[in-house]
Amino acid sequence: MSTLDVGTYSPREKGVVGLLGVLGALLLLAVVTGFLAPAYLLYLVGLSAMYMLLSMGLNVQWGYGGMINFSVAAFFGLGAYGTALLTASGSPISGGVSPVVALFGGLGLAAVLAVIIGYPTLKLRDDYLAIASLGLAEVVRIFILNESQWTAGSAGLTGIPLFFSDWPVLGDLTYPYVFYAGGTPVFNMSQSVVTSFLNVVLVSVIVAAVYLFLRRIHQSPWGRVLRTIRTDEDLAETLGKNTFAFKMQAFVIGSLIMALAGVFYSHLVLFVSPQDLQPITTFYVWVAVILGGTGSDRGAMLGGFTIVAIQQGTRFLTDTGALPIGAAPLRLMLVGLLIIFIVRLRPEGILPPERELIWPDSLGGGRDE
């Protein structure tokens, strides 16, 4: 489990993996031929990774434990605000803290809120939890919007530093950054390429670490109890499992992962405002998890990627005038149709969870993970 080992593949998964390979190759080709600008591609990769984190976080709550959490945007926003308030030059309360430290600020804030939201709502079931969590998420957004003495209100926070801004070497690069080999310049990278690249490195490390962490807990007896709770909480209770505690753990873990996505977002986009807590983000993350395959970590990652592909890919539609419909509604319609078609073609998601999740190696020599 030390490498990013993705286990064995079913034939169906092989198809998906093959498709991804082809897609990756195409993207690379597009960059090499100059069709796709590297800075833009890197931005898209960063954005996808952010959605991957959000979907993995939601998958812990919904996919493992069946908790219908509609407050994704709030945890995302808290992560973003947590780090922004601590680091941004425009912060009304503090600012100037190193992003590495602020990271924990964002996570801490999210953890506290997860417990505060979770405590009353996790006792509710199904859709009741959905609406309660959505409501509390709105309370958080409204608070951030209106308490401008602490949050800068609707104006949002500007002056957020790059994540690596105070690191040795990385923080001191000058732009355009020229890479020499034997005295001759080989690369000439603009700031946006370099910073995007660093962001992608950062987020890749985060995504990989989160994935490996989740993989382990998902295959464990802990994950199994959650899956039991998902279909039948009473059953888990009779078997002596403290379902509330399990749910709370999953809720907090999921929320922290979402907050991580928010922290990353802050340092990617360098501006946060209460708008970033709009429920629409929550819906997109839900779509990502379902399209990817509820209960599957790989599916959640793929779903995060898919949603960005749908959102951003449709940007390249241009209004040709050939259709009696403007580009914006056309795009909206396409996003809608794509969602419908994916559910139609893959009702269980693109990469549904494995049929069985058992702690690796415990099945004896017969099966290798």
Binding site: T231, L239, I358
Partner: protein, 270 residues
């Protein structure tokens, strides 16, 4: 049990070493009194039967003692600990596990996974040991898996181990429900009609299995309408009627008690 005497009117209380003690339990649903001043004691080491007509309140009694319903009055203790009003998992922690009359079917799991949820207090159910002592987790998991497979074989559904737990016949679901309860290895196991819908040949074998487990120290309280099964296994048998205990006594005596025949067994068939 040494008691060869006649059946007792109402419950026999004051047993030496009861695992479960329920006193004066009352549960109302609107106007309906489902259990009414019901008291029972389950002596350690016994297989106690609980029978009674449909709607007598047997399942309700299980729900009360296992913490699923809040009693309107009364008191429950398990292994001497007062558990009245506690949450189901807290009561389970005291060593009492129950099964459901209508089997629960966990989605998205295979049959053996569904069984692996059974064992109590697994190391791998906490997150930190997953990273600090993965070997322990692995060993436990290996042991549980073996046990699960063994259990499934006994229940004649060994070949279903890796089937989805939802794709089962009615009887098979009951078997999984029962096997999972047994995996927990509690002090006291409450079974709600374990062999309803189970093939009689298999039911006989299961009776043998329950006897074995009983000898290994598990106490049972079993609701069952299958007279063969319950008469063979249980001593004493408690008869519940209209929400309270009608009689309690050894199987043969209970079987021939007039009141029990009236309320439950029915007259000889024509």
């Amino acid at each position: 049990m040494s008691e060869q005497s006649l059946v007792s009117d109402g419950p026999i209380l004051g047993k030496d070493d009861p695992v479960l003690r329920a006193e004066g339990l009352e549960k109302r649903f609107g106007g309906l009194v489902a259990t009414d001043d019901a008291s029972i004691e389950v002596e350690r080491g016994t297989i106690t039967g609980l029978i009674g007509p449909n709607g007598a309140g047997k399942s309700t009694l299980f729900n009360l003692v296992s913490g699923f319903y809040e009693p309107d009055a009364g008191y429950v203790s398990v292994n001497g600990v007062d558990v009245t009003g506690r949450k189901p998992h807290q009561i389970a922690d005291q060593g009492m596990i129950r099964t459901f009359q209508t089997p629960r079917k966990p989605e998205g799991m295979t049959v053996r996974e569904a069984l692996l949820v059974g064992p109590h207090n697994q190391t791998g159910e906490s997150i930190i040991p997953l990273f600090t002592s993965p070997d322990t987790v692995e060993q436990e998991e290996r042991r549980s898996l073996e046990q699960a497979q063994e259990m499934l074989e006994r229940f004649e559904i060994g070949d279903l181990a890796t089937q989805p737990a939802t794709d089962l016949s009615g009887g098979q679901m009951k078997l999984v429900e029962l096997a999972r309860g047994m995996m927990a290895e509690p002090d006291l196991l409450l079974l709600d009609e374990p062999v309803a819908g189970v093939n009689p040949v298999l039911a006989d074998k299961l009776a043998g299995f329950i006897e074995e487990l009983n000898e290994e120290g598990i106490t049972f309280l079993i609701i069952e309408h299958d007279m063969n099964f319950i008469m063979r296994l249980a001593d004493p048998i408690i008869v519940l009627n209209q929400g309270s205990v009608l009689v309690e006594g050894p199987p043969e005596a209970v079987r021939s008690d007039e009141r029990v025949i009236d309320a439950y067994l029915g007259g000889p068939s024509e």
